[in-house]
């Protein structure tokens, strides 16, 4: 046995290479994680971050490369091996068994037992403590996970990971569905674990979060290392440049007659922006647009769907982006679903262009020019086994149909166009969506909605898992659509983006709209206050 | 209802007799049903006609016997799917004082009071003789089998095979181990595939109605009907037509109506305290084109089932 140096890093990955068929996801990637560090793993969508950490956890096997845990060679055969070696992971795609309860999911794979028989009593108390610690005591231990919202599920995953007593904890976009408050709770946990000597790999597209919590970083681009270092010595600006290979102008679109909402946003934007913003050329720096508020496109009148806690009234105008802010479980998703006819309505009604619309099904809503982007892209956003073309064109076939038959060529050409537009990384328009990275899948879902060319867009966390540059681009798209007179309902748990792109913002608290104001009337702090206390 | 489990009960109330066939969807069982119904009508008793839910399933037939015992009847007339498997349910019946008469196929042991059946082996012998006569004792032939584990057809097959090897060594058996399976369609396919391989076959024997009919269709379709000497078993309108057309050169017929009739009659006689013979042979008959229009054979070929319509 070789002697292990005492100061060996917690984890060393060297020359990791991984191919998926014709796609080369990782090409000789290195990563060194010091003991007790929070190490940020950064990169664009499809850069290979998830693939790298899946190799670390044992979910995937590398084609080539070396790994050492605390100086000892480490070649996990399967996730169980990884977990036993002290590597615990929160996967990007939610990783829960829907029929099992919260308790069963949290203990899955690490059940306490004697002679194969379960011992549950002590465990339940610990889980309850953890959930309380994360400020989510309302999540019941005996509720089947399929009854939880996406946000709550993420909390369950986090609980599972932190109860694992791992030496290395990997978090692949743990906060993509969380609101600010929950994120902060998570950071508290991270700091505590760090103090206990746990090393953490943290993947996120929220760069200011990363700055706040990380000690070191590694940046990947196209499956290769492009930079690494200590966070304290780096600027966000430089990191972004490493990630995307170019500079970024404005994160948020410029709308005429509107100053950026809050000091925080202004701060981020100035930090993100470079001195010389080219007004054209670069995708991040479009010309300023003008949002002209038109007549009411959609109005909810005491609408209450079966899953909603309270009735909701709201108006959305043409040419505006109306943000819906709130905490996890505030009821925004349910509101969108009820509007779109995915959930049956219990009371109240919806007016579309001033006309009362009762009991509309999703296909009828689409006929009336509505489109919905689901927060649950794998569950109901995408047909994962089908090609990009199929997914992108699924809600509008009109242009490719003649005498009842489709022109496959035209259709895939349109898909390719959208792939270019949103910079979707894929082998081609015929590739199955399942093989794309998380962020690229989200972009496909978005491309589907944009291709549909709806008049009223209902967007539920549209930028979930999308990298900084693409986010800027998506904000820009939204802004331009609004400028063309479309109405957009924009649900997000990430307040800066609400403040950055919305014309008005409504705050949800326990299923109710507590306040609606123009974006300029809100600040990060006041949004948070309204969302957590229900008082505007 | 359900009071009459005592045997040899008085004449006052109507007797209830269960008749349990092997299956319910062949013409053959229909004829047995008709015979049983005829006897029931004449003797003023009631019959309960019930076969296994899946055709030819031993386990299911045991279940039916047990259920009928539970229900309570005065006697059971049973065509056992297996000479061993049905012993115990029959014993159960006897223990419950329900007498049993066996029809169609044999049962080991002596728990039943009488056995009313065709001599299946003899049927195979008749078929082999007819084949030998038709081909003048030499030529390539098929012996097609019906279903794995079906005892009565296996007897016929054995009778045929043994007679051929003993009396007609000139008949060359090209095929003797192929089973048609339970349905006409599978028999049809088997026939086609065999004829594809051995188009110069001169004689074919099939041991029951569904196999005869399936293979007949295959012969007709490949234009060999009439040229190939074909001996089958049992009757149905299409087979009668084929006999008339010269596509079939002999049918071995049993007398299912008689079997059903005698089964019920003997049971009633037993219940009424008469002694009955313990073996009744209902006979097998070879019918050929020339003899098919005699009244007796006509009755065998197309039994009168009209009693079932009422």
């Amino acid at each position: 046995m070789t002697s292990v140096p005492a100061d060996a890093p917690a984890l060393e990955m060297r020359g990791i290479t991984k191919r998926f068929g014709a796609t080369s996801a990782l090409e000789g990637v290195d990563l060194v994680l010091r003991k007790g560090d929070v190490h940020a793993l950064l990169g664009e969508n499809g850069a290979g971050k998830s693939t790298l950490v899946k190799i670390l956890s044992g979910a995937l096997r590398p084609d080539r490369g070396e790994m050492r845990l605390a100086g000892r060679p480490y070649h996990p055969a399967d996730p169980l091996h990884g977990r036993r070696s002290g590597v615990s992971m929160i996967y990007q795609e939610l990783n829960l068994a829907p029929h099992l309860t919260v308790e069963e999911n949290i203990m899955l794979g690490t059940e306490v037992h004697s002679g194969g028989f379960l011992k549950r009593r002590d465990v339940r108390k610990k889980i309850k403590d953890t959930l309380t610690f994360l400020h989510h005591p309302e999540i019941g231990l005996d509720v089947p996970v399929r009854q939880l919202s996406v946000g709550s599920r993420q909390i369950v995953e986090i609980s599972r990971a932190i109860m694992d007593k791992a030496r290395i904890l990997v978090m692949d976009e743990p906060t993509s569905s969380l609101a600010r408050e929950d994120t902060e709770r998570l950071f508290e946990v991270i700091r505590k674990l760090k103090a206990e000597g746990v090393s953490i790999i943290y993947i996120s597209h929220f760069l200011e979060e990363v700055r706040e919590v990380a000690d070191a970083y590694t940046v990947l681009r196209d499956g290769q290392n492009v930079g690494a270092g200590r966070m304290a010595e780096a600027t966000l600006d430089a990191i972004i440049q490493l990630m995307v290979g170019q500079k970024i102008a404005d994160l948020f679109p410029r709308v005429k007659g509107r100053a950026f909402g809050s000091p925080l946003i202004r701060d981020i934007n100035t930090r993100l922006s470079t001195a010389e913003a080219d007004p054209r050329g670069e995708p991040g720096a479009p010309a300023a647009v003008d949002h002209e508020r038109g007549e009411v496109a959609l109005s909810l009148n005491g609408l209450k769907g079966v899953r909603m806690a309270e009735a909701v009234s709201l108006d959305l105008h043409r040419g505006e982006i109306l943000g819906l802010a709130g905490l996890v479980g505030a009821g925004r998703t349910e509101t969108l679903r009820a509007v779109f006819g995915l959930d049956p309505r219990q009371s109240g009604w919806v007016e579309i262009g001033g006309v009362k619309a009762l009991k509309l099904k999703p296909w009828q809503m689409i006929q009336r020019g509505f489109g919905l982007l689901s927060e649950d892209r794998q569950g109901e956003g995408l047909a994962l086994a089908r090609s990009l073309t199929d997914n992108i064109t699924l809600s509008r076939f009109g242009p490719y149909r003649r005498w009842g038959f489709l022109s496959l060529k035209k259709r895939s050409r349109a898909a390719l166009q959208w792939m270019g537009e949103l910079k979707i990384k894929a082998q081609g328009s015929g590739q199955a969506v399942a093989g794309l990275s998380g962020g690229n899948q989200q972009k496909v879902a978005l491309a589907r909605l944009l291709h549909q060319d709806a008049d009223v867009l209902l967007l539920d966390e549209p930028t979930r898992g999308i990298d900084v540059l693409s986010k800027a681009q998506i904000y820009d798209w939204m802004s331009r659509l609004a400028a063309r007179g479309k109405g957009i309902l924009f649900v997000s748990s990430y307040f800066p983006e609400l403040l950055g792109v919305c014309d008005r913002i409504a705050v949800f608290f326990r299923g109710q709209v507590v306040d609606v104001r123009p974006a300029a009337g809100w600040s990060d702090e006041s949004l948070m206050a309204a969302a957590t206390t229900g008082k505007g | 209802g359900g009071k009459g489990s005592a045997p040899a009960a008085g004449e006052a109330k109507s007797l209830k007799i269960a008749v349990i066939p092997k299956g319910m969807t062949h013409e053959f069982w229909k004829s047995i049903h008709a015979g049983a119904a005829q006897a029931a009508k004449e003797l003023g008793v009631e019959i309960l006609w019930k076969g296994p839910q899946k055709e030819d399933d031993r386990a299911q037939q045991i279940t039916v016997v047990e259920d009928v015992i539970s229900r309570g009847v005065d006697g059971i007339v049973l065509a056992p799917l297996d000479d061993r498997a049905l012993i115990r349910p029959v014993q159960d019946a006897v223990r419950d004082k329900i007498p049993v008469i066996i029809i169609d196929s044999g049962l080991q042991g002596r728990d039943y009071i009488s056995f009313v059946a065709t001599d299946n082996y003899q049927g195979g012998v008749l078929a082999a003789r007819r084949m030998g006569e038709l081909l003048r004792g030499k030529g390539p032939i098929f012996m097609i089998r019906y279903l794995e584990g079906s005892a009565s057809t296996a007897e016929r097959e054995r009778g045929f095979l043994e007679t051929v090897t003993k009396d007609f060594p000139g008949l060359r058996l090209l095929v003797k181990d192929q089973y048609t399976g339970a349905t006409t369609e599978t028999a049809y396919q088997l026939g086609e595939n065999l004829l594809g391989r051995f188009p110069d076959v001169e004689g074919v024997f099939c041991p029951n109605e569904s196999s005869t009919f399936g293979v007949l269709r295959a012969l007709q379709e490949s234009g060999l009907a009439g040229k190939v000497k074909f001996v089958g078993f049992d009757s149905s309108p299409k087979l009668i037509q084929a006999l008339r057309d010269g596509h079939l050169h002999g049918l071995i017929l049993q007398n299912p109506v008689k079997m059903g009739y005698l089964g019920v009659t003997r049971m009633v006689q037993h219940l009424r305290g008469q002694t009955i013979p313990d073996r009744v042979d209902t006979g097998v008959t070879l019918v050929i084109k020339e003899t098919m229009d005699t009244p007796e054979n006509k009755a065998l070929l197309s039994p009168d089932l009209s009693i079932l319509d009422r």
Binding site: L80 | G2, Q53, R58, T63, V68, S70, I87
Partner: protein
């Protein structure tokens, strides 16, 4: 909140009773038929239905496990036939009955193990593997039996399914007792052991289970092997009942077994199901058949009724589980 609580309690009560609803309904219907009234619920009839159910029930115990784990086993019925033939063959060959029984059960287990191994190694859907195995096992059974049934001498094995068991204090056939014991054992395994929970997790989301460190492949192989062992035992019972080894027995029985599990609340997409439910499913089907036969209804009526009942029972279960609309 208070209303919610009450609703939940009512729901709990309904949920507790509902599985039995279908069974109770069927018992009620038949025992009110004037023709068979007095005999339907008699001890003798109940005993005979219990004995008749053993074979399907044992198969259903394994199938419940398989279905909860997100799989399906179409080879169950063929496996039963094969095991019964092997048992008969072994007894016929002069092996001590106990050894023959063991051999029969192990044959079933081996078939199940091969199913599991192929499913996990080749990563194929269980439907296909077990459909292939269905043909293979049936073919092998016919081969061993040389296309005939095997007549084996009577031994104590044939007493296992005797409606009137030898030591009369047993009351029920030993096979029925075995069924009860194994049903309880399996219910305990599913509810109180790590393995049981893993089976639920695999059926609910196999990828998640794997990523959480569940040895999914091992668990699945065990699941199919256990199912196979139950088929083996069921085959022994079939032999005991028939007193012969019949390679053509139980054709299509896999659908009865699956139906029982599904009527009992098992979900073919995995993650749901219970032993109690499956047993109720078995008895619903058994009493239906029994009642129809006692009534002397034609088989086609029986076929239609059973078809309707399958649909109805599952719809009922569905409505019961649906969230209030």
């Amino acid at each position: 909140m208070r209303i919610v609580r009450q609703q939940t309690r009512l729901q709990t009560l309904i949920n507790l009773l509902a599985p039995f609803l279908g069974l109770i309904l069927i018992l009620a219907i038949f025992s009110s038929m004037p023709d068979i009234q007095s005999r339907f619920l008699r001890l003798a009839n109940l005993k005979s239905v219990a004995t008749q159910s053993v074979i399907v029930a044992l198969g259903a115990l394994g199938m419940t496990l398989v279905i909860i784990g997100g799989g399906i086993d179409l080879s169950a019925a063929s496996n039963i036939a094969l095991s019964s033939v092997v048992t008969a063959y072994a007894i016929n060959a002069g092996l001590p009955p106990l050894l023959a029984v063991g051999l029969g059960i192990l044959t079933g287990g081996a078939v199940g193990f091969v199913n599991g191994a192929l499913i996990t190694r080749l990563r194929l859907v269980p439907f296909i593997i077990t459909m292939g195995m269905m043909g293979i096992a049936r073919g092998v059974a016919k081969w061993i039996a040389d296309n005939q049934k095997i007549d084996a001498p009577l031994t104590w094995v044939n007493e296992l399914m005797a409606k009137s068991p030898r030591p009369s204090w047993l009351m029920l056939a030993p096979g029925v007792w075995l069924m009860i014991v194994f049903a309880v054992a399996m219910a305990v395994v599913l509810r109180y052991t790590v393995f049981g929970r893993h089976v639920f997790a695999i059926g609910s989301n196999e990828a998640a289970a794997r990523l959480c460190g569940v040895r999914t492949n091992r668990a699945k192989i065990i699941v199919y092997a256990i199912a196979g062992l139950f088929c083996g035992l069921s085959g022994v019972m079939e032999f005991s009942r028939l007193t012969v080894g019949d390679p053509t027995v139980a054709v299509g029985l896999e659908l009865d077994i699956i139906a029982a599990v599904v009527i009992g609340g098992g979900s073919l997409s995995g993650g749901e199901g219970s032993i109690l439910g499956s047993m109720i499913g078995v008895f619903i089907m058994a009493f239906l058949r029994n009642g129809c036969t006692m009534m002397g209804w034609p088989n086609y009526i029986q076929e239609i009724i059973i078809g309707v009942i399958i649909v109805a029972a599952v719809s009922l279960d569905r409505i019961r589980h649906r969230r209030p609309t």
